[in-house]
Symmetry: C2
Subunit: 323 residues, 2 copies
């Protein structure tokens, strides 16, 4: 039985996406127990299907880290606090990233040996697989020691999540050569190399991250965020252009009808919603941050990922690795 705490509020589409996602999730997985936090009147469809904890307050999207001190009655903080004080395996929220990550770190505490928690997301690759990238934004400044920690956590994550024996771990840089990179990257490279870090393959450029050669890409939170958002932006711009291209005239419209099964491959591989969000690794429970813009399908996937990581006993594996 996997038990999860869920904050159903605070997303762009209100609680609607959460309710849809939760209903789907409960239909799909039977060995689960959900405790859902939010405004009771908005969660009536869930009644009798999970435990509902009525919360009057909601964390705003604009709330930052400090809000966790003032807004203890919000569904987000209540869910995180419940995760701390109960035996649930994980917690999911689609609300303010800053507030949720801070609350998760403060309430659930870092795993022993972890200096900084990191946000992780599997990222689609050309070959239909995925690459684990971290940190994609939990931190805005990092030290080489933080990055070595991310490398360890990323490797553990890739082993468990993608069933890999020895994940190939790369360091994001502006060139493949050892001497290339910022001071942070060069110093981290040295630490990983000198310690004979298992699976460490050297530097990788942003260009090759999605080619499928890397299982794990390690970077500071600022750079990871630039990487993630640039890839998302480029994918969005290209697919918009393609859509526009297909609408150009009657021939291209006919063309689309014939070719759409092929175009579908592209869409499916590039579909970020299938991961539902990002995971905060390094704290004492499974923590999944659903996209603020989630629809029901995306929120379902955030729950699914949380469930899978809990089933794979990710937290204990990280504890073992970071000892």
């Amino acid at each position: 039985m996997i038990k999860l705490a869920v904050d159903a509020m605070g997303m762009d589409k209100g609680s609607k996406a959460a309710v849809e996602g939760i209903l789907d999730f409960l239909n799909t997985y039977k060995d689960v127990e959900l405790t859902v936090f939010g405004k009771k009147e908005e969660l009536s469809e869930l009644e009798g299907k999970c435990t509902i904890v009525d919360c009057k307050e909601v964390m705003d999207m604009e709330d930052g880290a400090l809000a966790i001190l003032r807004k203890k009655e919000t569904s987000m903080i209540k869910a995180v606090d419940f995760a701390k004080n109960s035996d649930v395996d994980g917690v999911v929220s689609g609300g303010s990233t800053g507030a949720f990550l801070t609350a998760a770190t403060v309430y659930l505490k870092l795993i022993e040996g972890v200096e900084r928690a990191a946000l992780v997301s599997p990222f689609p690759t050309k070959d239909g697989g995925n690459v684990i990238i971290l940190d994609i934004g939990a931190n805005s400044e990092n030290t080489p020691e933080h990055l070595v920690g991310f490398a360890k956590m990323g490797r553990t994550f890739a082993k468990a999540y993608n069933n890999l024996e020895t994940p190939r771990v790369y360091l994001l840089s502006n060139g493949a050569e050892e001497k290339k990179g910022s001071e942070l990257v060069k110093e981290t490279h040295k630490l990983l190399k000198d310690s004979n870090f298992e699976g460490f393959k050297g530097n990788i450029e942003g260009r090759y991250v999605m080619y499928g050669d890397a299982d794990v890409v390690v970077c500071g939170g600022f750079d990871g965020n630039v990487l993630l958002k640039t890839a998302e932006g480029t994918a969005k711009v290209m697919s918009d252009m393609l859509k526009e291209g297909f609408k150009k005239n009657i021939f291209t419209k006919i063309g689309y009808l014939f070719s759409r099964s092929g175009v579908k491959i592209l869409k499916e591989r590039m579909n970020y919603k299938k991961y539902g969000g990002a995971m905060l690794v390094g704290v004492n429970k499974v923590v999944v941050k659903a996209h603020g813009s989630s629809d029901g399908y995306s929120f379902f996937n955030a729950l699914r990922v949380c469930y899978e990581l809990a089933s794979k006993d990710m937290v204990n594996k990280l504890k073992e690795e970071m000892k």
Copy 2:
């Protein structure tokens, strides 16, 4: 009359791409005078069309910054030295980036008031226009003062290159809010804001860089390089997937025939070759680094961009701005 010095050697495809590009260029532009540096026996097609300076040595792709001290007889260093000691307006090379940028900075010297030169590339946007991004890799560590310099140079570049009155200048960050970002970004934001920097619009996420709202995006060289290469990599992966999709079966192949004029829009807008390379701004001549993987079309465009920047009197405009 625009005069350019051209290093025809050191690219992946040898001198072939350069010769093709130069011939095209000379056919297209009549008010130009080229001095081409390279192995005479490989440049016979150019005889009588431009001045050829025979050079026995070639800078290797793997040569770094320090090679400029040892390899003074290479076509690259000869071309840069010629640019220093003659009245040519600019210099183009597709050889080793590290060696060329260092040589250009050392020989041609920084413009007064410039602390660091920056690599610039116009980047295609969704609306068919372009955005000027800098630095995309001349530096691997930067200070807030460097970034303020990049903002000034980027604004001058966008005004001249894209004929804009008041370019909208953004700072690359991990969130749009003022308080978001690395220490470097936060400090730069403060400097730009406090000085009422003309056209400064705040932070921008990687996601929105290609949407067409920004005319200039300012970032440190490491982050700019991650941005550029991630966008290139994503575009490449998506277009490969699309190609694969169209080949799926007879229907998708027919579909492609009908829709290709639409797909062509996508290809044209995303075609990086049309800029031919990146420009080093902040030194006393127009400097264009052609792609190491250039074909003739790409090298032609590097020459074209160098010609345009020289015609627009870019160096004097930068001198004026940086005073």
